[in-house]
Symmetry: C2
Subunit: 317 residues, 2 copies
């Protein structure tokens, strides 16, 4: 059994990181409100440092290390936003970072990690190879491993976006987030539970990688057999730290089709005028799909990030 962090720990995480991350803006659109039939506000973590909420969890996790641990550096494996987040958070705190990335990771992401002072260790593009490489690097440098989503300090950090959102909109009745590795939704549900106990938290997940939906049904952590989704930040699976939090505090996970993700992404880009990644659009897609159940509610949506490849956008007329 894991121990569920207290309200004090949720608030302490926000105090700990707030000077090191952006207090991101909250936006809304009259037209999106009309489409959904509710009052919807968007917490825009695409404006966060390095372009995603992951900066929050990475920063909180490093700040919780001892001086000796900080001296030896941190290590993670990620092909996505957490690689950049840990590299930048470590850089900002004067800590060395080792980032295990698959050989198939896009050059632009590798360049970003190097730009933030991270040391890249390449490995084969399998979870097993990634975990093995991270273990070797950790042993060699005595660096502390920080998991992208299955680490309670990371989870608490991700939950600070919701802390800020509820401070600005304390009367929210519902909050939607996308579900990937589970760090964001677990952190959000934890913050909402302590700060707005009546507020219900929902997840949006692509049908193609609906491991979290199935995990909640079966009661055990399920895996994905396919990873064929536009929402490349949501291919990862839950872990033993975040799953119990999700089981306890998340109301429901709503699955969406790829075309619904593209439609929601278009709404966000056209109406909010912001660049949000497909994963971020999954939360709005889930709300739009089940809008009948949320008429006239006050709803918050966490826009998880804005790191997209402009040369490979999914829009077509």
């Amino acid at each position: 059994m894991i121990e569920i962090p207290s309200k004090e720990e949720v608030l302490a995480a926000h105090q700990r990181i707030k000077s090191l991350v952006h207090h991101t803006p909250v936006l809304s659109s009259r037209l999106i409100n009309d489409i959904v039939g509710a009052q919807v506000v968007f917490k825009c973590e695409n404006f966060q440092k390095m372009g995603a909420f992951k900066m929050r969890g990475a920063t909180n996790a490093i700040l919780q290390l001892s001086s000796a641990q900080k001296d030896n550096g941190v290590v993670t494996h990620s092909s996505g936003n957490f690689a950049q987040a840990l590299a930048l958070a470590a850089y900002n705190l004067g800590v060395k970072s080792f980032i295990v990335m698959p050989t198939t990771a896009p050059q632009v992401k590798k360049d970003a990690v190097v730009g933030y002072g991270g040391e890249i260790i390449e490995c084969q593009p399998t979870l097993k190879a990634r975990e093995h490489a991270a273990k070797i690097v950790g042993q060699r440098h005595q660096a502390t491993f920080i998991h992208p989503s299955n680490d309670m300090n990371v989870i608490l950090g991700q939950g600070t976006a919701c802390v800020e959102l509820l401070a600005e909109h304390p009367d929210l009745e519902v909050i939607f987030t996308p579900v990937g590795g589970g760090g964001l939704i677990a952190g959000t549900a934890l913050s909402a539970h302590h700060l707005a106990p009546e507020c219900r938290v929902f997840g949006g997940e692509p049908f193609a990688v609906d491991d979290a939906y199935r995990s909640l049904k079966s009661g055990v952590i399920e895996s994905n057999t396919s990873t064929n989704t536009l929402a490349d930040g949501l291919k990862t699976e839950l872990g033993d730290q975040n799953f119990p939090v999700i089981q306890k505090y998340v109301e429901k996970i709503i699955r969406v089709q790829e075309s619904e993700i593209v439609d929601a992404m278009r709404l966000i880009w056209e109406r909010l005028k912001i660049v949000a990644e497909p994963s971020a659009a999954v939360a709005l897609a889930a709300l739009v799909k089940h809008k009948a159940a949320f008429q006239k509610r006050r709803i918050g949506i966490i826009i998880s990030g804005g790191n997209v490849d402009l040369d490979r956008l999914p829009f077509t007329s």
Copy 2:
């Protein structure tokens, strides 16, 4: 000779419209600062109502009409943002609007005008046909014609973005705007002249439609022979109301190539995480091109709007 509006008139325009438009945010990017070698802040009129600064000028112009004029409605001709701006500003003020649009205007823009309660009058896609149709409509309904850029109340309205920018960043040394019909740059230059007399205003203009550049050289209003630019908001020409203001208060107009516009647009989308139209990127393109002349300066850029067709973006790998 036109009469140049006073500081009081500039500030009064802002007081007049401020409750009817969004106070748009100002964003910045460390990486863009590094690329330019200066401190650059972006006034984000892409977040303005209907997605562009034109809402400001349209609102100010309607508010300056008499009750009798308001009763008869307003008319303009535009294939772009001003059509939507006048329709929405009129709607918000309970005024009828007649919008002359060429038959070739995109359906999405016509739909937006109708959605804001505007009545569309279609005409052939020539300036002559547009002006003629607007005249006929104006006579039939006694509606007041409001020009998209060559009207001093419109110019004063457009200048209110700069009023807000200078209130937040009073120490700016340089401001860049794009140059199309001349309303935005004239209004900006007027506001800067009165509120920050040391601040110099520059324009960015595509080589393909460099009428304003040539007008400043020759001293008379020049026309474009081609309109072959991505920056579809900048194809229009200066007028007798804004040209004297531009001659007097704009330091220089810098011309940019189409590829430079796309590069600047990519920087804005990738780094600021906002959806900005090609015309908006022209100002940053001009700064990047001449960055050597602006090292270490405090620079403001007006992001003019964010109305783009996501199915026809200029990015390609």
